[in-house]
């Protein structure tokens, strides 16, 4: 190991060369990879695992960098290096599940990512084949109606909080919106069931009830997002409008909302992306079915997340076909969510409100 030590001055310690930590890290990975390869050749472990190599290599690095630094640089620097290594490791550890999840979903989902999947339902399908058109249609319908319910309520609440709200009520609404973001999704499902069971009798299942459940989850997210965006609108714009004699409500409609339109769109899309993957409430109130159902108000309605869950949980004969469909459903779901996220961020970037100064 190349170590540069400066002798003489008792106030200065030796320092590791700049690249030394990186060299040690790579060396650790290579060593672990070598050990893995030897084990793999002897047949002790099944196959070479990249994730395992990176993980154990990093653990090895944390130990080695501490010892090396302790011997060269002294205790305080060694602790600093140890924490730096741990903090970097924490980030990498968080990336591992993300990488593993995305790669397995893509790899396993690609098998059934075909035309059938998007053009057929599961009606009269036993075993392989069939598709998830009924689930995709259901998801789009339920989420669209949920957005139709939540966006007006959420936007108007945000307007109330930013433009009108003063005093006790506004503070309570802000607090409860915050708390509402933490409502478990399954409780929202139970709530929708309880309401609709009261109206339509027990055992009710319909797509619209799913929309209501999703709205409960979506409204607080929309409120928060819109509130942040409305607050960004410079007060000078409002004052200029008032000075011209424009009534308050027209100021909001013609000045405040257009200025923050891009941000609000972004917020709404992120909110949609968040609820479109909700499973539990739809499992409870929209139920699951193998057939196409376009009618939100009549009977069970399949949705994509529930499709993934039921394919996984209720495997029929030829379980592999069900699992393959579940993976593809997951892939489609992730693609939809990622597309919404990406689009939202792009809108936010290119149409951001000009915030003065």
């Amino acid at each position: 190991m190349a170590v540069s030590t400066t002798a003489g001055n008792s106030l200065t310690h030796g320092r590791l060369p700049r690249m030394a930590p990186w060299a040690i890290l790579v060396a650790c990975w290579l060593v672990v990879a070598g050990v893995y390869a030897i084990f793999a050749m002897s047949g002790t472990v099944r196959d070479f695992s990249l994730v395992g190599t990176l993980f154990f290599g990093t653990v090895l690095y944390v130990a080695i960098i501490y010892v090396v630094s302790l011997s060269v640089e002294g205790r305080r620097q060694a602790v600093d290096r140890l924490v730096t290594a741990l903090v970097f490791a924490a980030f990498i550890v968080a990336l591992l599940p993300l990488v593993s999840l995305l790669s397995t979903v893509v790899a396993n989902g690609a098998a059934r990512f075909d035309l059938d999947f998007f053009t057929m339902s599961q009606r009269n399908i036993v075993g392989a084949g069939g598709g998830a058109l009924h689930a995709i249609v259901g998801t789009l319908e339920i989420t669209a109606v949920a957005a139709l319910i939540s966006v007006p309520i959420g936007l108007m609440t945000a307007i109330y909080l930013v433009e009108y709200g003063r005093g006790q009520i506004a503070r309570w609404i802000t607090f409860l919106v915050d708390v509402m973001t933490g409502i478990p999704s399954i409780v929202a499902g139970l709530f929708a069931y309880a309401v609709f069971a009261l109206i339509f009798g027990p055992g009710v299942r319909m797509g619209f009830a799913g929309s209501v459940a999703l709205s409960v989850l979506m409204i607080p997210v929309v409120v928060r997002a819109c509130e942040e965006m409305l607050k960004l609108v410079p007060n000078e714009l409002r004052e200029a409008a008032y000075a011209l004699g424009v009534p308050k409500w027209l100021t909001i409609v013609k000045v405040v909302l257009p200025t923050s339109a891009a941000g609000i769109t972004t917020g709404v899309m992120l909110a949609i992306a968040r609820v479109i993957g909700e499973t539990a409430p739809l499992l409870l109130v929209a139920g699951f079915t193998q057939s196409m159902n376009y009618d939100l108000f009549d009977g069970r309605m399949q949705s994509l997340p529930v499709f993934v869950f039921t394919s996984y949980a209720n495997q029929g004969t030829d379980g592999d076909a069900y699992i393959a469909r579940a993976w593809t459903g997951a892939l489609v779901l992730i693609l939809i969510v990622m597309a919404l996220n990406l689009l939202a961020r792009l809108i936010a970037r290119f149409f951001a409100p000009k915030t003065g100064r």
């Binding site: 600093d80 999840l101 607090f175 933490g182 478990p184 709530f191 996984y312 969510v337």
Partner: protein, 313 residues
């Protein structure tokens, strides 16, 4: 001269009244909605709480409280395990993004962590059940062989890997983004001068963080942990798809009999439930609602006491 006492008021036009009225109505809808959630759950849950042993298939020979106890235990236990794993990781990642990563990369790295939040829970469940569980099975077998003196690892290891520890790992991954986001926000608010003073006195980066950043961010870390706890308590699908449940109270984390959680139990039992069984499940949901509401309210209260900071959502 007397007119000086009259305050100047903008003229109220009909449009103004309609608009402000509907804004107030929308705001009140939130209050009403939250009250409605509580009222409807209570109304539908009471018959479940009062159900006698033998009334319904779900309860079997137990009364409601005996039924809900293992579930409540499982919910708390799984969430606690997840929190135990996620808290140090979240603090580490937040520090990485706020103080260690190169400035220009920091925001992108934050987005990458936020990507985890975008993945639907059902996909996490699928991944946990089909990828993670087989992956951790050898580790559990090793633990059962070599570390069974430790109470949590006692007894036989599960043959499927679908234990409460696996579920807790998935939960930990799922609550990481929100915890990281809040810790990050708080760490970034550390007064610059405190950090520079610490560095100028010759402290290393870690000593600076320990003396300036962490004391400043303690309240933020606590509330991040509580928000994470709230999420973990209510998470449904990940647990329902990963865990193979039994109605037991057991601390063993790698065995084959694991307590179920309230949320997962509702998701798994609800489609087949009927009659009073539905009420029983709604009553368990009410228990969950009360617990998460309390946890979230306390967390938000702690966050809101620090002003200029409006949560990470």
């Amino acid at each position: 001269m007397a007119s000086a006492a009259v305050p100047i008021r903008a003229k109220q036009r009909p449009g103004d009244r309609v608009f402000s009225g509907s804004a107030l109505a929308a705001g009140s809808t939130i209050l009403i909605l939250l009250a409605a959630v509580a009222i409807f759950l209570i109304a539908q849950g009471i018959p479940g709480v009062l159900a006698q042993p033998g009334d319904t298939v779900i309860l079997g020979e137990k009364n409601f409280w005996d039924y809900v106890a293992p579930l409540a235990f499982g919910t708390l236990w799984a969430a606690a395990l997840a929190l135990l794993m996620a808290t140090p990781l979240a603090i580490g990642i937040a520090l990485f993004i706020s103080h260690y990563a190169p400035r220009r990369l920091a925001q992108t790295l934050g987005y990458i962590i936020d990507l985890l939040a975008a993945v639907p829970s059902v996909v996490f469940g699928l991944w946990g059940g089909l990828v993670l569980a087989p992956l951790v099975r050898p580790a559990y077998a090793w633990l059962a062989e070599n570390a069974s003196w430790f109470p949590l690892f006692a007894g036989q290891a599960s043959a499927t890997g679908r234990t409460i520890l696996t579920a807790a790992i998935v939960l930990a991954v799922m609550i990481l983004p929100i915890m990281t986001a809040i810790c990050r926000e708080v760490f970034l608010q550390t007064p610059r001068l405190h950090e520079e003073a610490a560095l100028a006195l010759g402290s290393t980066r870690w000593e600076m963080i320990r003396m300036a950043v962490l004391p400043f961010g303690r309240a933020g870390i606590v509330s991040a942990a509580m928000l994470g706890l709230g999420r973990a308590l209510g998470e449904t699908m990940a647990v329902a798809m990963v865990l193979s449940p039994a109605a037991v109270i057991s601390f063993i984390v790698i065995g084959s009999t694991n307590p179920n959680t309230i949320a997962a139990n509702i998701a798994l039992s609800f489609p087949e439930a009927f009659g009073t069984g539905v009420n029983v499940l709604i009553a368990t949901g009410l228990v969950l609602f009360v617990v998460t509401f309390a946890v979230n309210a306390v967390a938000r209260y702690v966050v809101n006491r620090r002003k200029e900071f409006s949560g990470a959502n």
